[in-house]
Subunit: 348 residues, 2 copies
Amino acid sequence: MRVNGCDYRTVWMEGSTVHMIEQNLLPFDFSIVELPDHAATARAIAEMTVRGAGAIGAAAGFAMAQGFIEQKESASLPHAAKAAILATRPTAQNLFYAVERVWKAGCEGGADGAVAEARAIADADAEASCRIGKFGSKLIGNRANILTHCNAGWLAFVDFGTALSPIYHAHRDGKSPHVWVDETRPRGQGARLTAWELTQAGIPHDIIADNAAAHFMARGEVDIVIVGADRIAANGDTANKIGTLEKAICANHFGIPFYIAAPIATIDAACPDGNAIPIEARSSDEVLWQQGVDAEGKRHTIRVASPGASARNPAFDVTPAALISGIITEQGIIDAASAGAIATNHKE
Amino acid sequence: MRVNGCDYRTVWMEGSTVHMIEQNLLPFDFSIVELPDHAATARAIAEMTVRGAGAIGAAAGFAMAQGFIEQKESASLPHAAKAAILATRPTAQNLFYAVERVWKAGCEGGADGAVAEARAIADADAEASCRIGKFGSKLIGNRANILTHCNAGWLAFVDFGTALSPIYHAHRDGKSPHVWVDETRPRGQGARLTAWELTQAGIPHDIIADNAAAHFMARGEVDIVIVGADRIAANGDTANKIGTLEKAICANHFGIPFYIAAPIATIDAACPDGNAIPIEARSSDEVLWQQGVDAEGKRHTIRVASPGASARNPAFDVTPAALISGIITEQGIIDAASAGAIATNHKE
């Protein structure tokens, strides 16, 4: 995707150096970090310089390839590098998958094989996101108003993203979409990252308080809702950023199509339904405090709630399959109820 | 209500001096301002030292009484004071009502009559809120979890409030309620004012991101929703803080009772339905920037969204009567659909 007129991916490799957009500084500063070895790349993954399932997977694959490059002259395998990379984000499924693939390729083909496999993983992620966009853009009419929640844009993947990819494609096709960007409290990924992406892409949008979505739905100003997914159960129940369930219920109330956009790898066929998905409880400080920059550009962390008050902060919620119009995947748009079967076929 | 162990109203009069809680400093500082004359009180109303329909009305009544006191020795009426008070908050219905009542009493009974009338207005507001609490507390079971949105507590009235009054009464009755406090972006009245009130009252509560309400409803952790109202149409459609509609739709989806708490004066019998209620569009800066204090207590205003992004900020939404289980008034709990008829009878 383009930033300040240049094409970027979230993470890529040049020679033996991994490059990443420093996402911790967004949306206030845009910069690229250069990571010379696996240790630096692993640290960047742990410190969330890169975030989002697809982007973390690609970064981990490149880090593993760096591990093989570092041991090129010796006969030993980079076991320590593998352990260090696996320890960065203990619950990221894509990370394990990518590290194992690159490990196997490195064992068989050495550093060159490892680098080629890491590139293939990143390319496949970008290709899947691109295909999601092509399928999803068919759902977007001319001058459509699309509501999205959180950030399932290209910053969370290698390129294009999931929920935003159909919007990017519709924009390129000249359909003039307009996007309602849910702020997405408490962490504000909509106001910070989705709005930043859309500004860079030149796509008209308005940030709204999460509270305002139903108001615009009631006025007929939302044509379709598209969001990403963190995990999809076999029956189609979908875990995604907290607030997704509210948007799904409201869209259902007003008869507005509600779509999930996600690669098939997001479907966990071994998970029967939403009840089996554990919900991460994050620190209440994310609700009670906010970070940002003042008018002079100086960063501050401020308390935005009454001192002494407590807070609860579930990071995700589960939207039942019955509220989901369809899942936009790289294989096409599927019924939520058939998610498990399609994921199982895809694997075989 | 008690603050730091002492009983307070939001606004009261001692001699010729009006006292108010300085609400602009809440929740970070608690202080009382003393306003020696009508000009000072009018300025405090305009600067939102006092806010909320009931509290503004009481303050305006006291300011008008101060106008009569200031002219006690002369034969002329305080026309200039009346004009100054009426100009403070041009859309506040309670303000006009209170000023007219005190004006009439002052014309007939002089300064003493004006002061007595202003006190009667404040007492009636507190009494109505108290009665709302008594009726509403019957809806709250032992150890109930109540969700509320925005601040319809005593800070918005003279005492007790509307949506929070049933909770205060249930707490005093030993029912051990727990309150889910919607943060209420963009202005955060839940996180700032409702949480502050509940902390002072010693009522267990948790602030949640507005996004999290449906999640707790889905888990069976919300027994009832009670919110306030800015304006109720004759057919029961209710305008209230943005986000109220989302909570009503979600409560309806999960079969959770959803109540409005408001004095009958909030019903506008001349307004046929929600379509006739204009929705104020407020500055996008309220969405894009946030105010608060840092760890050292220093106030900052920070940008919390991507620079250059635009925002939309409707201040209210309209919840259709069909989603409302009932309206808790000082006359008892009424059907939303009969709002107009009851308000008309009440006036006659």
